[in-house]
């Protein structure tokens, strides 16, 4: 351990907001010791911080030209793409300890994630959803006549989840692009990245960062949450169905409410991906989707449908996947589990073993002495969620097209499908999957990495946040008549 000793506030408030009381946590890392300061919050602090952030936004961010906002975010991101950037080094030291994920996974995935927000990608986000991104600066002509302008909310209350490090940055950046102030409630599981990212923004433009409030508290602090809801114009809630419902019931009807709740993703492997020259790569990719962030992201697969007819059977596939997960465990051990999480895995294993004893067509492959990984092979296609943490169901199917049709029953929960099929089937199968309710088809091996401009849960990133104001053609025409110089 080096002699570095840093004190780091796990919150961010505008300069004139004073937080007097904190409790501290000391953490030893490879880079030295950190004292993390968590604020003791009151409803008054939430109100005060939100008001000042919104004022800062009203007088500054709201009037910044969009391209300047893009440039400033890009400059902050560029800092994060430098391996020696001090805040990146802090994140790489602290996140493995705060989240339990292996430091190599954090190091690799964090930088990959940050690359999603370079200037060129931000332009992609904007162009994807706006005919004229300039609408966020002022009225712009419409193809159908008239002019329109888009306004983001004065303030967005982001309720972040803590399952995947850094994922909150996406939401913060989307808010900045529509020129909204942010009040981010972080999860105690990962309160770090929103704070560090807003610090980076402050290094680029302190006035811009004044529009951002980041506060950690444990979900269910009703008074704090009520004040936050009052202060905002829009809410974005990430988390379990319970979390989403808890907010949905309380949010006043006039507020915009967006939620990203419980979702299930899956993978499909066609026989053409199981030829003698391809199967190794196919397995390696799928194992990565399972191992990276231990399936905590809703993007990660919970089950895989494997087609018969390749050189390896679906059962071979299960055995090989088990071996590959064992190798991942040696390379990047899974994070430590809570008692409840471990029990969920034991329960599922026991049920499967019991079913196998009673004659069900099921084989269970699992790590010995611990819950590090579990593969449950089913000879009969079905649908079954996983308790996560590197636990997966493998279903043998004669053909993927038929399996896809059975998914319709679960459309409420379906999100991503990692697909490994040949080009002649890609579109026909995607059509079926789309019909069943899935909204993202990606390569296996890339499931955890949604791309800029994707339709999150089938919706928009920016358009859902803004309201449009139209100047109709008639108003334009009539105005012309009142021109003192009119013919």
């Amino acid at each position: 351990m080096s002699g570095v000793s840093e004190v780091l506030s796990m919150y961010r408030v505008p300069r004139e907001v004073s937080i007097t009381e904190c409790h501290e946590e000391n953490i030893e890392t490879e880079q030295g010791s950190f004292t993390l300061k968590y604020p003791v919050l009151s409803p008054e602090i939430v109100v005060d911080a939100a008001r000042k952030a919104q004022n800062a936004r009203d007088v500054y961010l709201a009037h910044l030209p969009l391209m300047e906002v893009v440039e400033k975010i890009d400059r902050a991101i560029q800092k994060w793409l430098d391996p020696d950037y001090p805040l990146r080094r802090w994140a790489e030291a602290l996140l493995p300890i705060l989240t339990g994920y292996h430091s190599d996974i954090i190091r690799l995935e964090l930088k990959r994630y940050m690359r999603n927000f370079r200037k060129k990608e931000l332009l992609r986000f904007l162009d994807e959803e706006f005919d004229h991104p300039g609408m966020l600066d002022g009225f712009r002509p419409r193809k159908s006549g008239g002019m329109s302008r888009a306004y983001g909310p004065h303030m967005i209350f982001h309720v972040f989840s803590g399952n995947v490090p850094g994922v909150q940055v996406w939401s913060l950046i989307m808010g900045l692009l529509v020129k909204s102030a942010a009040l981010g409630k972080t999860s105690l599981a990962e309160p770090l990245m929103p704070v560090l990212f807003s610090m980076s923004l402050a290094e680029i433009d302190e006035r811009l960062a004044e529009s951002i409030v980041i506060l950690p508290w444990k979900g269910g602090e009703v008074e704090l949450e009520a004040k936050a809801m009052e202060a905002c114009e829009a809410l974005i809630v990430y988390g379990s169905d319970e979390t989403v419902e808890a907010y949905r019931h309380r949010v006043p009807i006039e507020k915009r409410f967006l939620s990203y709740g419980h979702k299930i993703s899956l993978a499909m492997v066609g026989k053409e991906a199981l030829t003698a020259d391809r199967y190794e790569d196919t397995l390696h990719r799928l194992a990565a989707d399972i191992a990276i962030y231990d399936q905590q992201s809703c993007l990660a697969p919970q089950m895989v449908y494997v087609e018969s007819g390749g050189v390896i059977t679906p059962k071979d596939f299960s055995q090989l996947l088990a071996c590959e997960l064992e190798r991942y465990e040696k390379k990047w051990p899974r994070s430590a589990l809570s008692h409840e999480e471990a029990m969920a895995i034991h329960k599922m294993r026991n049920q499967a073993v019991f079913a196998a004893i009673n004659g069900a067509d099921v084989n269970v492959y699992m790590s010995e002495m611990n819950t590090a990984w579990t593969v449950i092979f089913h000879r009969k296609a079905d649908f079954s969620g996983s308790p996560l943490n590197r636990t997966i169901h493998v279903f043998a199917v004669d053909d993927l097209e038929t399996a896809a049709e059975t998914l319709t029953r679960f459309r409420r929960y379906l999100q991503s499908c990692g697909l490994a099929v040949g080009p002649e089937r890609l579109f026909s199968l995607s059509e079926r999957l789309g019909t069943c309710g899935l909204n993202r088809i990606c390569a296996i091996g890339e499931m955890n990495r949604a791309k800029p401009g994707w339709h999150h849960d089938g919706r928009f990133n920016l358009l859902d946040l803004v309201r449009f104001v139209d100047i109709e053609r008639t108003a334009e025409m009539l105005a012309e008549q009142y021109d003192p110089d009119v013919e």
Binding site: E280, L283, D316, Q319, L320, A322, C323, E326, N363, Y365
Partner: protein, 253 residues
């Protein structure tokens, strides 16, 4: 070396190197299936000797060139122990190692080659195929194929025997490539002339002396020397070794 609870099938284990390997496994706590073809009395001696020392062994007669017989042997081991952790392919078609009476390149027939290929290569293939489903299911396993250092240095050119063993070494490397994904290692052990065994009895003193002279460790191999390397490959210490051939010949080749 802790091999307690491991289940090991040694083919051709009634005598010589095979018997030494079986005894060594048993001494380290493994349950050993002693396979033999004809010599029941000698095989029974090996089993009894193991049991006298508190080890566990069972006897199974099967011709490794016969799929049905090998299938039954493996199934019977699974029924008894539930698993097979290690397969040692040691059996070969009967062969007499006699430098004086060996067949020459111009006197040997294809049938001679075929006979050795059937025992060394096909026998190993059949036994491997029989244990594979169980090793795949466990996600681990060890397959050890007995070859010879004559592949590197045919100091006495036993054409049919050495060619078949060279084929087994090729089989080993290829198998290692595919089975590694399943957590199964496949290696070969290449003994030098090992004495005393039934096979080497007819190798005359002058040849033995010549080999000793050329050998850095200045003696011939003994069956226990070979067994030690086999045990290493089967043990947890050998877990990251696959597709290798370890020469056990005192440094001759």
């Amino acid at each position: 070396m802790d091999l307690k609870g491991n289940v090991v099938l040694v083919t051709g284990a009634s005598r010589g190197i095979g018997a030494a390997i079986a005894r060594a496994f048993a001494a380290e706590g493994a349950c050993v299936i002693i396979n033999y073809l004809k010599n029941e009395a000698r095989a029974r001696d090996v089993v009894e000797e193991i049991r006298e020392h508190g080890g566990e062994a069972i006897l199974y007669q099967a011709d490794v060139r016969d799929e049905a017989q090998v299938g039954q042997m493996v199934q019977s081991a699974i029924d008894q122990y539930g698993q097979i952790d290690c397969l040692v392919n040691n059996a070969l078609s009967h062969y007499t190692f006699n430098p004086k009476t060996r067949k020459t390149a111009w006197g040997i027939s294809w049938e001679d080659y075929q006979s050795q290929l059937d025992g060394s290569l096909r026998g190993s293939y059949i036994a491997t195929q029989a244990v594979l489903p169980f090793m795949k299911e466990k996600g681990r396993g060890r397959i050890i194929n007995m070859v010879t250092n004559l592949i590197d240095l045919p100091i006495v050119p036993y054409h049919d025997y050495t060619t078949a063993k060279a084929a087994l070494w090729g089989f080993t490397k290829n198998l290692a490539r595919d089975l590694g994904h399943f957590g199964i290692t496949v290696n070969a052990v290449a003994p030098g002339l090992t004495y005393p065994t039934d096979s080497s009895r007819e190798t005359q003193e002058d040849v033995r002396e010549m080999i000793v002279k050329l050998t850095p460790l200045k003696r011939l191999a003994q069956p226990d020397d070979i067994a030690g390397v086999v045990l290493f490959l089967a043990s947890d210490w050998g877990r990251f070794v696959t597709g290798q051939c370890i020469r056990v010949d005192g440094g001759l080749v």
